[in-house]
């Protein structure tokens, strides 16, 4: 045996090279097929792991939004709505293949800008982005089967605003179905995570997508508000916080715009005493510590049957001790950086409240880097349903553990939330899965797994988690209408 001077578990650094990136110093707005300067005051995007500047990003003001919407309108009327579905599909297939070709570059950019571990951007985000474009490419010439009635046709110009937690993946969830259905797009990435969207703009150029079909404008909340309230957009699709979703619902009410909102969540992950325990532990970890817990459908409330609570919590702590927090670009990193100081402050604030309210806090022992925004995996036990950490979305690597005695109690506690995005059930008993799933009010219910996504599966919430569905046929239908065309809206031809 070799001398054990070093610990094997202190894996030597295995950083993914940034050499593949070909970043510009500054990025303009992508309008009408080309990068143009923004009129607002530009801002820096930084790496949340080092706080170092990556690039300068343009800020779109109202005039820029006008230009982008006008470009999208022109492309809709002049090009995209006149193309056959087969031809639209060809562009989408081309984009999907280019995403695959540039997968590593996109993954590195995503981890650099967002802070998520490279293993996730490489193995989850980017492959799903390609899958989403492939999936909707196949739909483009089959719109009559989307279930919206006769003569399915596009809505027109879609205004899309996406969050920072899965920047490129959320972009694909928005753009792929919109284009397949024949809409044109103006999309605004989140202020802190514009980078991958701007590389995606280069991919659109590479794919020779007709100018104006997709316009990518960067900026902050004001840019997003101007975009969704623009009078010439037909469809608004938003993923983000419930408070912003509420503002959008108000401001678009009566405007005639179709709206889909994918908002927050406080999902219950229910572990019964007959669960496959080792896999349930993995599922709990994946449910709340995947992507630093920055997941709207995260399993942030663990509901564990009271008779196995101690065992589950002990096993969970043992497992969390093996999680590696650090450099997002290191291939062995499990927990990356929190995306922004603002979000870190929010996580800290709610965790402190959890302690103050009497819950017991346990934090995984890991070294926190000096620079950047970090939060070690944390579990709260002794959480009661009345605690704020049991009710409010923390959007960080913080798990609230509660117990139940019977399936009926589990269901009642799981549903006792203003949200309703997702839920998880862990039991080896199939009949129990079906009986419980039937009574949970959540858009997505995972059984013996968690946080699994597939483009064919619709995704969306109940109650304050929003309305409308993304993914699958339902996600396509959200970008279609039927019946005779009116005004400038044209039939999406086959």
């Amino acid at each position: 045996m070799p001398a054990s001077s070093q610990s094997f578990l202190d894996y030597a650094p295995a950083p993914e090279s940034q050499a593949i990136l070909n970043l510009r110093e500054s990025y303009g707005l992508f309008i009408n097929g080309e990068f143009v300067p923004g009129s607002g005051k530009s801002f820096s995007t930084i790496s949340p792991a080092t706080e170092k500047k990556i690039a300068e990003i343009a800020h779109a003001d109202a005039a820029d939004v006008d230009r982008a919407v006008a470009a999208a309108r022109k492309a809709f009327d002049g090009t995209w709505s006149r193309l056959s579905g087969t031809d639209r599909g060809k562009y989408l297939f081309r984009i999907a293949r280019l995403v695959q070709e540039r997968a590593r570059e996109l993954a590195v950019a995503e981890s650099l800008d967002n802070g998520k571990p490279i293993k996730e951007s490489r193995d989850v985000d980017v492959p799903l982005v390609a899958a989403w474009f492939f999936y909707y490419a196949g739909w483009a010439d089959k719109l009559e089967h989307a279930g919206v009635g006769p003569n399915p046709r596009a809505l027109g110009v879609a205004a899309q605003v996406i969050p920072w937690n899965f920047p490129l993946l959320m972009l694909s969830w928005k753009i792929a179905p919109a284009l397949a259905a024949g809409n044109t797009v103006v999309i605004k990435p989140a202020e802190t995570t514009s980078l991958s969207a701007l590389i995606f703009a280069e991919i659109l150029q590479q794919a020779d997508l007709p100018p104006g079909v997709v316009n990518i404008i960067t900026g902050a909340g004001d840019t997003g508000a101007t975009l969704v309230n623009h009078p010439d957009v037909n469809k608004v699709a938003f993923t983000g916080s419930t408070s912003v979703g509420r503002m959008i619902a108000k401001s678009t009410a009566g405007s005639g715009k179709s709206v889909t909102l994918e908002l927050g969540g406080k999902a219950a992950n229910i572990v019964f005493d007959d669960a496959p325990l080792d896999q349930a532990i993995e599922g709990i970890v994946n449910g709340i510590f995947f992507n630093q817990g920055h997941v709207c459908c995260a399993g942030s409330r663990l509901l564990v049957q009271e008779n196995i609570e101690t065992e589950v919590v002990e096993r969970l702590k043992d497992r969390l001790r093996t999680l590696r927090l650090g450099d997002p670009l290191d291939k062995n990193t499990d927990i990356g950086a929190v995306n922004s100081r603002e979000q870190l402050d929010r996580i800290r604030e709610l965790s402190d409240i959890g302690e103050a309210e009497g819950a017991t806090r346990w934090t995984s022992p890991c070294e926190i880097p000096a620079k950047g925004f970090w939060f070690a995996p944390t579990i709260f036990t002794g959480v009661e349903t009345s605690h704020r950490i049991a009710r409010e979305e923390i959007f960080g690597p913080v798990l609230s553990v509660m117990t139940f005695r019977t399936p009926a109690e589990a269901i009642s506690k799981a549903n006792n939330t203003p949200y309703g995005l997702s839920a998880g059930i862990w039991t080896d008993k199939g009949s129990k899965i079906l009986a419980v799933a039937d009574k949970l009010r959540a858009g997505v219910i995972w059984a013996n797994t968690f946080n699994r996504f597939d483009p064919a599966s619709p995704f969306g919430g109940y109650k304050e988690s929003g309305y409308g569905r993304e993914g699958g046929r339902h996600g396509l239908a959200a970008y279609l209408t039927s019946g005779p065309a009116a005004g400038t809206v044209r039939k999406a031809t086959r």
């Binding site: 045996m1 610990s7 094997f8 030597a12 295995a14 496959p276 080792d278 896999q279 062995n332 013996n448």
Partner: protein, 337 residues
């Protein structure tokens, strides 16, 4: 109970006492109490287990970690030849390789053991000589099928121990296990363990081969792991190498989980040996990661983890040479055994 269960008369048959089982299950050890214990283990979700194993397989082990891992792998190999065509000459050649894995680099560690059929043990012992630091492991109990009467299995075991085997790799009676006769499997392991006893009162180390490729389901693998541990096995081993699939990462992970849980329950450390089908350094490193992140680094030593392999050694040596020189050599730069 289903009709496949043995009759209640059989279920109340008392089993050979094995101190571990008595401590954990209770003094009145019967077929029934054993069955209840094994059936009370949590189920295994196949998709989740395989996903976890795949996740562990994505760890990137580079530079100094890789160098350490390669040497650790060599030190945990049971260099194996289990062929009908084995001869004293072949065993001698295997032993020479075990002693000096890489003649071009004498700093290369030695393997943990050589693993041979029982009748080859005297040749292996003679070839190794005293103080080699390498154990002789013998497969026994009508390896690989285990289809023989118990007295024959015990004689097989005793023979090998008498000939100087340090370790016995026994096979369980998979037929009895699949028929639900857990007690019979248990009793056989207890009896074989007893047959491992030397005249001086010490015991040859007992590795219990589950032949997971024949047990087929992960739930069975978990039950068989516990069964083998309860009956007194020092090691649980995946496979004979004669049945496909042999060792897989998910199966090994599952067995490591049983070992981890046993340690949490009793403080006792059981070894794990994946065997068969591990041919490349890259795969072997995935096993090291799985061990370290499941039961802890403490298990990364030959007393607690082994690879049953033959061609793996040369691939590790090639990787080792590459780390030293920066260049890949080729199969002509490592020795055949």
């Amino acid at each position: 109970m289903t009709s496949a269960s043995p009759s209640s008369a059989v279920q109340h048959v008392a089993l050979a006492p094995a101190s571990r089982a008595v401590n954990v299950i209770g003094g009145d050890l019967t077929e029934k109490s054993l069955r209840l214990h094994l059936e009370g283990l949590p189920g295994v979700d196949a998709v989740g287990l395989e996903a976890r194993a795949a996740g562990l397989g994505t760890r990137s082990i580079k530079t100094t970690s890789k160098a350490w891992a390669l040497d650790a792998i060599i030190g945990m190999i049971d260099l194996t030849t289990l062929e009908g065509a084995d001869t004293p000459g072949k065993v001698q050649s295997l032993v020479a390789k075990a002693l000096t894995p890489d003649p071009s680099d004498l700093s290369t560690p030695r393997v943990a053991a050589v693993c041979v059929y029982g009748d080859m043990v005297p040749f292996a012992v003679a070839a190794l000589g005293p103080n080699s630091g390498i154990n002789v492991a013998a497969v026994a109990t009508a390896f690989p099928s285990g289809r023989a009467a118990l007295p024959i299995k015990l004689a097989d075991t005793k023979d090998a121990v008498a000939a100087g085997a340090d370790e016995i790799d026994m096979v369980i009676d998979r037929g009895a296990f699949l028929a639900g006769n857990y007690g019979r499997v248990f009793d056989e392991i207890v009896a074989v363990k007893d047959a491992c006893r030397r005249d001086d009162g010490s015991y040859a180390h007992l590795k219990v081969i589950l032949e997971t490729g024949e047990l087929n389901t992960y739930d069975n693998v978990r039950k068989a792991s516990w069964l083998a541990i309860l009956a007194g096995g020092d090691f649980i081993k995946t496979s004979t190498g004669k049945v496909a699939p042999a060792a897989t990462l998910p199966v090994t992970l599952l067995m490591l989980q049983a070992v981890r849980d046993w340690h949490a329950l009793t403080g006792e450390r059981i070894g794990v040996k994946p065997a068969g089908g591990i041919r490349h350094s890259k795969d072997a490193i995935k096993y090291l990661v799985t061990v370290a992140e499941t039961v802890g680094e403490e298990w990364l030593q030959p007393e607690l983890f082994r690879f049953g392999a033959s061609s793996l050694l040369n691939d590790v040596l090639l990787q080792r040479q590459k780390l030293a020189t920066g260049r890949y050599s080729g199969p002509d730069y490592v020795t055949v055994d």
